[in-house]
């Protein structure tokens, strides 16, 4: 119903976040705040070995502990609780084997958290060490210890899914004919999501024999499907409700589904509500991380700076289980060559099993890793050619009408050139670059560096990509929305409210949005891949337009005119007699007419064609683009790096909720800053060393530099009002921009993340002696039950 053409009233204008007040006043309730009568507390027994056979597991001593009500193991699930997507390789509780330190083996429910812990400690669990694998680069060797499940397709069992590839022309020959070739090796380390709310779930048995689970999911519908499968229940007896979520960044997938299944089974056995809440230490040990990635990259160019070929090999260490990482590997392969034109391109990414914890989805999903490699290599190329790094990028970057290395024609919404030119101007790039190139101090030097990126929107060729929404008018004339997609703190609930208000022509204060609930919302796929604004936004727009159509009909009937003759004055409807009729009156009339004032909307992304065997096709419906410039000061005596300023310009299409979009950008840059400099997870011999925020160092408010941000609104015709997305892309170019600034300041490249004190000063990292104590303390394991001798190490 776009017959009434008016400027946008709410979309793109300042608005208050719908969840802001509840969060700042402490009224928002998280799982750890939930208390229900008769509630039991659950605690997991977790693996103390990186790879072992479960030789004996006796839970009966736990049942002798006062207050313990039930104990479960993999035997309590259908098919031992086997689950996982896209690779079904994990159990809700370990079966026969454990593959990482911290893997859940058994879960105890008890009257108090103390009794649950005592119960877990009383379980007799004997682990027999198996050969371990910690070096991902050796994972596919013929004699590497087998960590992954058996495969019958001839592939190495330590390969997760298929190896991912992109092919254009003959890159080897093209490189051989390039006058300039760079061959570089990069490494990016594990990263922890560090959501403010650690994992927590609450499961309640229902009188019908089913279960209601409150959980901060990546997708309540995937959780529901898993629960029905492993509990052996029909889906209608499993309801999953999303409470307020304290951040996710991709981290509340498998680990939440597992905890949900454990709590749900315990609730069904005991007939009582069961809550499980992780401590920060348990969260760090048990949860999945961003993968570590080993990368080799070769770039070939002409002497005038024209890029000709890219060759890339990546090994993605995703630890003991696949989780979402085969998809991460795919996204990494698509973005490995960066946002540039090439004559030839050859990309292979292998996602492998090791016994280093495990990796899963994390904001950026493979792109921050590969962007760190390609954007530094491009910078080095500029240095070799004596070209300005921005000039070299402008010469080669993707423009409207170009074809990507995958064979995708970019027909619309390509704002990269504008991003680069804008960031160059607002950062005063040319002056600073020249000034900092003349420094002679041996104490501290400044540098300025740039990185650009593109990022495919939504799921792309990962699978079906659609979302649904519902809208209805309640008896008090408020408007009620549901979406199957979750707001982890991203601002998507506000986006949906603004879109519904815009389409209905009502004040946003009238509009409220429920949190996802499998009984009321429409399955919209997982809330991942920065897809909420475009997928959920389009669905909400369709739903609101459907309801608007009904209300317009009622208004036309009441005002005795044709719907085309209606105009709006604020919320009110005005007909040909020019008298304004309140929106409530129109609602009343619609009800009298017997019309149903609720509607739903669905939106499906344009079809994607990707040939996995030949590495060619259209991987994503479209892309967002961005360029960031970092200014740093490096202490040449200590390696300490201060980031002084970040300028960020991103093409995200039409901005719907400006404060939310800037919030995403500032937050992403902050997370990228931590990824660049301080956030480090290490797994020496499989034992994580960083189990709390005194050793896992996320940036504090005094580490975050001044950020100057701007959006380029290069409209995308399929996006709501031309919108694209921002959540993940904000973080992608930050680390390489900082790396390039460090190189500018010091004249030396740091090719590994994080660029900590040691790497910046010495060029390599130093590792403290490994200790099992952090894990021991995190899991509250009595020291005697820890292995006394180091397990055998392969490598």
């Amino acid at each position: 119903m776009s017959h009434i053409t008016q400027p946008l009233e709410y979309v793109g204008r300042p608005a208050r976040r719908v969840d802001a007040l509840g969060k700042v006043t402490g009224q928002a309730k998280y799982i750890a705040d939930y208390r229900v009568p008769g509630m039991l507390h659950a605690h997991c027994l977790r693996s103390t070995m990186p790879h072992a056979r479960i030789a004996r597991l006796d839970t009966t001593p736990a049942l002798q502990v006062p207050g313990v009500r039930a104990v479960i193991t993999s035997e309590d699930f259908v098919n031992h609780g086997l689950y996982g997507f896209p690779v079904r390789d994990k159990y809700m509780l370990a079966w026969q084997k454990v593959r990482y330190v911290g893997e859940a083996i058994a879960t105890v429910a008890a009257d108090t958290p103390q009794a649950a812990l005592a119960g877990a400690q009383a379980i007799v669990c004997e682990l027999e060490p198996l050969p371990t694998l910690f070096d991902a680069r050796r994972a596919l060797d013929p004699d590497a210890p087998q960590v992954g499940p058996d495969r019958n397709d001839g592939q190495h069992p330590n390969l997760k899914g298929d190896h991912m590839l992109v092919r254009k022309g003959d890159a080897e020959t093209e490189l051989a004919n390039c006058p300039i070739v760079l061959d570089r090796r990069y490494f990016t380390d594990w990263q922890e999501h560090a959501y403010i709310e650690p994992e927590g779930v609450l499961a309640m048995p229902t009188p019908e024999g089913g279960v209601v689970v409150y959980a901060p999911n990546q997708s309540p519908f995937i959780n529901q499907g898993n629960l029905a499968m492993v509990l052996g229940l029909p889906a209608n007896l499993v309801r999953v409700i999303q409470p307020t979520v304290g951040g996710s960044f991709g981290g509340k997938d498998d680990i939440i589904y597992e905890s949900s299944a454990q709590a749900a089974r315990l609730a069904l056995i005991t007939g009582r509500p069961v809550r499980m809440v992780f401590s920060r230490e348990e969260s760090l040990v048990a949860s999945y991380k961003r993968d570590a990635m080993h990368m080799d990259i070769r770039l070939g160019a002409d002497r005038d700076g024209t890029l000709r070929a890219c060759w890339f090999r990546g090994i993605l260490d995703s630890g003991a289980y696949a989780s979402e990482t085969p998809f991460t590997a795919w996204r990494a392969s698509i973005h490995a060559m960066g946002a540039y034109r090439y004559n030839a391109c050859d990309v292979d990414v292998y996602c492998v099993y090791t016994n280093n914890g495990y990796a899963g989805a994390f904001r950026g999903f493979g792109n921050p890793e590969v962007c760190f490699a390609v954007e530094q290599t491009v910078d080095e190329l500029a240095e070799m050619l004596g070209m300005d790094p921005i000039d070299l990028r402008l010469k080669n970057c993707l423009r409207l009408g170009d074809e990507t290395a995958h064979g995708q024609k970019l027909n619309e919404s390509v704002g990269l050139i504008e991003c680069i030119n804008t960031v160059r101007r607002i950062s005063d790039w040319d002056r600073r670059r020249a000034e900092y190139s003349r420094q002679t101090s041996t104490e501290k030097r400044r540098g300025i560096g740039v990185a650009i990126m593109y990022h495919g929107m939504s799921l792309g060729a990962e699978g079906a990509d659609h979302a649904g929404a519902t809208i209805s008018v309640l008896p008090d004339y408020s408007v009620d929305l549901t979406s199957g997609l979750t707001d982890y703190g991203t601002g998507s609930r506000t986006v949906y409210v603004l879109i519904a208000a815009e389409e209905l022509g009502v004040n946003p204060d009238r509009v409220h949005i429920q949190r996802p609930d499998t009984n009321t919302a429409i399955d919209s796929g997982p809330t991942v891949a920065s897809r909420s604004t475009v997928l959920g936004g389009n669905a909400m727009r369709a739903a609101a337009r459907n309801l608007r159509q009904t209300l317009d009909l009622a208004a036309a009937d009441l005002l005795r005119c044709d719907p085309q003759q209606l105009v709006r004055a604020g919320e009110a409807y005005v007909g040909p007699d020019e008298e304004a009729v309140a929106w409530e009156k129109i609602v009343d009339h619609a009800r009298e007419m017997g019309l149903i004032l609720s509607a739903h909307g669905k939106w499906e992304a344009p079809k994607i064609v990707w040939d996995h065997h030949h590495g060619r096709g259209t991987p994503y419906m479209a892309y967002v683009y961005g360029a960031q410039v970092a200014e740093v000061e490096v202490d040449l005596r200590t390696g300490n790096t201060q980031v002084l300023h970040i300028w960020a310009v991103h093409d995200i299409g039409k901005v719907i909720f400006p404060q939310g979009a800037y919030g995403q950008l500032y937050g992403g840059i902050t997370q990228g800053l931590g990824y660049a400099l301080t956030e480090q997870i290490t797994y020496p011999e499989g034992y994580i060393q960083e189990t709390n925020f005194e050793s896992y160092l996320i940036p504090t408010s005094v580490d975050v530099p001044e950020i100057t941000a701007q959006f380029i609104e290069s409209a995308y015709s399929y996006g709501p009002y031309g919108a694209k997305n921002i959540a993940e892309p904000s973080l992608v170019p930050t680390a390489p921009a900082i790396a390039n600034a460090i190189a500018h300041a010091t004249g030396r490249r740091v090719r590994e993340l994080p660029m900590n004190l040691e790497r910046v000063l010495l060029g390599h990292d130093l590792q403290p002696p490994f200790s099992r104590k952090p894990v021991e303390a995190a899991l509250k394991i009595p020291p005697r039950s820890m292995p006394q001798t180091a397990p055998r190490v392969y490598a």
Binding site: D635, R637, T638, G639, Q642, E758, A777
Partner: protein
């Protein structure tokens, strides 16, 4: 959370009496920024915490003749806000600004920092640099011990059960003396020092070094003045070369004690730079 008793003492005498109680193992509680973190993971070795954080006698900051007296329950924030300490103990004020973050600075105390005995403590190098005495009371009486002599190793002190540090005193530095503190952490707040340096010094009217103190933290298992570095400064005219030589000597002295550890490759370079920088700040005459 483990269970233990809590009592708030109103005076030093009451605190000493409570700590001497043989029926109940007690430990002083000041800011709680160490002890409450420790009991999350390690079962407490005490049955009762005696809160000394509000004892008026332990909150003083004053000049007593040629000495400065700082109560053991004085918080970092109170140090930062003290005009007297800004004038007489710059290194202590600078260190207090760099401890943890605002919450830690509001709660943490100087006495607690010494009693905790961490090699990476930020509050202790300035005290050693200022030649501070720790005044310790117990039911048998009172004694004064140089702060450096109280420290016996990482998280180990010479304090006995029943001991309470009540206050610190240090002499006012010579005329024209300046002090400084530099901290190197992995981030700008809530960071444990990888290295820190407290330094002080004064020049004669001829421009030669007549007074020098160099105390690196997080460098040795047991904190102390680097007298070997101080001695090589005495009588010299400040120069870039002198600062660098002193920095190199500090690194050499560190490695002589620690041997080559996993972090030595980094710390020996960084400490040289930090010591040289600290001395430059202390001895470079501003125009």
């Amino acid at each position: 959370m483990p269970m233990f008793d809590y009592v708030r003492a109103k005076s030093v005498a009451e605190a000493v009496e409570l700590l001497a109680d043989t029926q109940c193992v007690s430990r002083p509680l000041a800011g709680g920024t160490d002890v409450l973190v420790q009991v999350r993971h390690t079962p407490p070795t005490f049955q009762r915490l005696v809160d000394v954080s509000r004892i008026p006698e332990m909150k003083i900051i004053e000049r007593q003749g040629d000495e400065i007296c700082v109560g053991a329950a004085v918080t970092y924030t109170e140090i930062i806000e003290s005009a007297l300490l800004r004038e007489t103990a710059t290194c202590l004020v600078e260190a207090s600004r760099l401890v943890g973050g605002p919450a830690i600075a509001n709660a943490g105390t100087l006495g607690g920092n010494v009693a905790n005995g961490a090699a990476c403590a930020d509050g202790v190098p300035p005290l050693v640099c200022l030649d501070a005495l720790a005044h310790v009371r117990n039911s048998a009486g009172a004694r004064a011990v140089p702060v450096a002599d109280l420290l016996s190793g990482p998280h180990e002190t010479m304090l006995q059960r029943g001991d309470l540090i009540t206050h610190f005193t240090f002499p006012v530095m010579p005329d024209g003396a300046r002090s400084t503190f530099i901290k190197l952490g992995r981030r700008n707040a809530q960071a444990i020092s990888r290295l820190n340096v407290a330094a002080a010094g004064a020049l004669s009217s001829e421009g030669r070094v007549i007074f020098a103190r160099v105390v690196p933290g997080s460098a040795l298992p047991r904190l102390r003045r680097f007298v070997e570095v101080e001695n090589m400064l005495i009588g010299e005219r400040p120069s870039e070369a002198l600062f660098e030589t002193a920095g190199a000597e500090a690194s050499r002295a560190m490695v002589a004690v620690t041997g080559r550890r996993w972090s030595t490759e980094y710390k020996e370079i960084a400490l040289q730079g930090l010591v040289a920088r600290a001395l430059r700040q202390v001895f470079t005459v501003e125009n």
